[in-house]
């Protein structure tokens, strides 16, 4: 006998979002998008599914192994469901707005689907809200996106959001300079740095042990970390990147001195396709990341052939939902069958949720309580039940 699954059972990592959470999520998404809009970021809406090769090229390669795929019977080509939206916005910027003035400011919100959940995010479908600032190489652009993301989250009532800055291109630049090119060596080094394993670094040969040892020591508060980095002898390209980072830090310090700013120059995991300053937003109240972003290069669709730079942020609505205050319960009002529509409309305009009776009730107060209403409209007046 075939055993049928319970109708409520969903595939792993997928969930029904119920009241009041569904409403709260929609509201949070709307608030975040609104925050971005007030900074001049205009919303775009790419499709859920695209051709696999466009969705997984360039920086999309970062999520290529996270994407569901299916075959399009119409074009006979492989399609992929988006696992991240950044690549779609980059595509829109280069193909739909090649001639729009730069910098270009775009925002987006939507659901993404992933093949596998992670330790802290077992969900395979979740919402992203993001913004991209396209076409500026200036440190002020990085600072704008970072501060805007911080403000957007703070606007939702989340306190003490801290920012962890990173520079994922630093380690590869130093490796190249020191001649560490063998892929197994680089891999080993990455593992060590990801785990912040200072003892394993000491077993590396000089001068790598010294340089990376110092960088590991630099992890922590941004001001201290910058001082340590400047004390290390770095090759020229790495030095340029550090100067850019320093400029970003100084703008952030000047514009918002009270934000907790940490710096981790050896964090590379998850930033394989970034080309400059990156950042992650944390709250001490929740585990996991509220959002992350950074500078990357747009893959060149442009006929001109030159590569454009962008810096953007992706906010994770599921993590954000775990850290925002519980929604204020709405005031619910029960309206009897004979209540005029105009009267009901007025109460709704005042902020009441009005539940209308579908039949006559002998005990309206009892019916109101049964439906979760605190008040009832009777003879054009509100009565407490």
């Amino acid at each position: 006998m075939k055993k049928t699954a319970h109708p409520a059972l969903l595939p792993a990592g997928l969930a029904d979002v119920l009241p009041p959470n569904a409403m709260q999520e929609a509201k949070a998404t709307e608030d975040l998008i609104h925050s971005f809009a007030t900074c001049g970021y205009e919303r775009v809406k790419p499709p859920l599914i695209e051709f696999e090769d466009t969705l997984t090229s360039g920086s999309g390669a970062a999520t290529a192994d996270q994407s569901f795929r299916l075959m399009d019977p119409v074009s006979q080509r492989m399609l992929a469901v988006r696992a991240d939206m950044t690549i779609q916005i980059a595509r829109i910027a280069t193909t739909r707005f090649p001639d729009a003035p730069r910098p270009l400011r775009l925002s987006y919100a939507g659901q993404v689907l992933r093949v596998k959940g992670s330790t802290l995010r077992p969900e395979r479908q979740f919402a992203q809200v993001g913004a991209e600032l396209i076409g500026s190489v200036l440190p002020a652009a990085d600072a704008e996106v970072i501060l805007m993301a911080h403000q957007a989250i703070t606007n939702l009532g989340i306190e003490d959001v801290s920012i962890d800055l990173g520079l994922p291109t630093l380690v590869p630049a130093i490796c190249e300079h020191l001649g560490i090119t063998k892929s197994s060596d680089v891999q080993h080094l990455r593992t060590i740095l990801n785990q912040k394993d200072a003892s394993a670094i000491n077993r590396f040969s000089e001068p790598a042990a010294q340089v990376f040892g110092q960088l590991l020591n630099a992890v922590g508060s941004a001001t201290d970390a910058l001082r340590v980095i400047k004390g290390t002898s770095l090759p020229l390209p790495a030095l340029r990147q550090c100067e850019h980072l320093e400029a970003v830090v100084s703008i952030l310090r000047k514009k918002a001195a009270d934000i907790t700013l940490t710096l981790d120059p050896v964090e590379i995991r998850g930033y394989e396709y970034h080309s400059g300053v990156t950042f992650t937003l944390f709250s001490p109240k929740v585990r996991g990341e509220l959002g992350r972003g950074g500078r990357y290069q747009l893959s060149g669709y442009a006929e001109a052939g030159e590569q454009e730079e962008a810096t953007g942020v992706t906010l994770f609505v599921d993590t954000i939902m775990r850290s925002i205050p519980a929604p204020v319960p709405t005031r619910r009002l029960f309206a009897l069958l004979e209540t005029p529509a105009r009267e009901i409309a007025n109460y709704r305009a005042e902020g009441w949720v009005v539940i209308e009776a579908l039949a006559d009730h002998s005990d309206p107060a009892a019916e109101a309580r049964r439906l979760g209403c605190s008040h009832v409209i009777q003879n054009s007046a509100i009565k407490n039940v």
Binding site: T119, D164, Q195, S221, T280, S283, P284, K285, V286, R287
Partner: protein, 222 residues
């Protein structure tokens, strides 16, 4: 996980705790008396430091507790950290205690006639299926793992499989079960491990503790 909450340090139960406690004390942490009572049912304990609590947990659970931030930092074996390979855990300090090795072993007689180059698929009994799979996959061998939580050395003699991956310190258990070590996968020591979010949101406190443990490791002869 609240910023003004106490920091929670997770310490492993069992044999390893005896090696770790001198370091913990040297770092200036003295748990309340009940902690030293092996019969105490209590699982979390106050310390001489009002901002710090200690919990006792099984070694194998350390990676889980630390990656979810249930404990902010803790002592975890490199074996457990390798097995879970969590991106939410940093392991900044080698405590240089709990030294042992993770090895592949098999019955002495079969080891002699075996040619590893011919393997495409092997069956292995182990407590560490992920490490085992990764280790063999790197050289093109598919390892089918039988997960056991103890008495792994007995598996070959019971006909469960021919090979095991396990920790050895002196090698006497292997010998007693007629097994020989054929390959070393890694040397293992205990690490001071830290939850990533905690490290990012409470960097000053945690780097302070890491530093104190670092000095303790330096001061105590291993």
């Amino acid at each position: 996980m609240l910023a003004n909450d106490k920091l929670i340090l997770a310490l492993p139960k069992g044999r390893i705790l005896n090696d770790v406690m001198p370091l913990v004390r040297k770092a200036g942490i003295e748990p309340e008396a009940a902690f030293n009572d092996p019969d105490a049912r209590q699982l979390n304990f106050a310390t001489n430091n009002p901002g710090l609590e200690v919990i006792r947990a099984r070694s194998i659970d350390m990676a889980t507790l630390l990656s979810f931030g249930a404990a902010h930092f803790g002592v975890a074996g490199a074996d457990v950290l390798m097995e879970f390979d969590s991106r939410e855990i940093y392991a900044p300090l080698d405590l240089k205690v709990g030294y042992c090795r993770m090895v592949v072993a098999q019955p002495e007689d079969s080891a002699q006639e075996d040619n590893p180059a011919r393997w495409s698929h092997i069956r292995v009994a182990t407590k560490y299926p992920e490490i085992t799979k990764r280790h063999f996959a790197e050289r093109g061998v598919q390892a089918e793992c039988i997960k056991l939580n103890g008495a792994i050395e007995i598996a070959p003699s019971l006909g469960l499989c021919r090979r095991i991956v396990d920790l050895v310190s002196t090698g006497s258990t292997l010998r007693a079960n007629g097994l020989v070590e054929v390959e070393e996968i890694a040397t293992i020591t205990s690490r001071l491990a830290v939850n990533r979010t905690a490290m990012k949101t409470r960097p000053t406190e945690l780097t302070g503790w890491i530093e104190r443990f670092r000095e303790a490791v330096h001061d105590l002869p291993s």
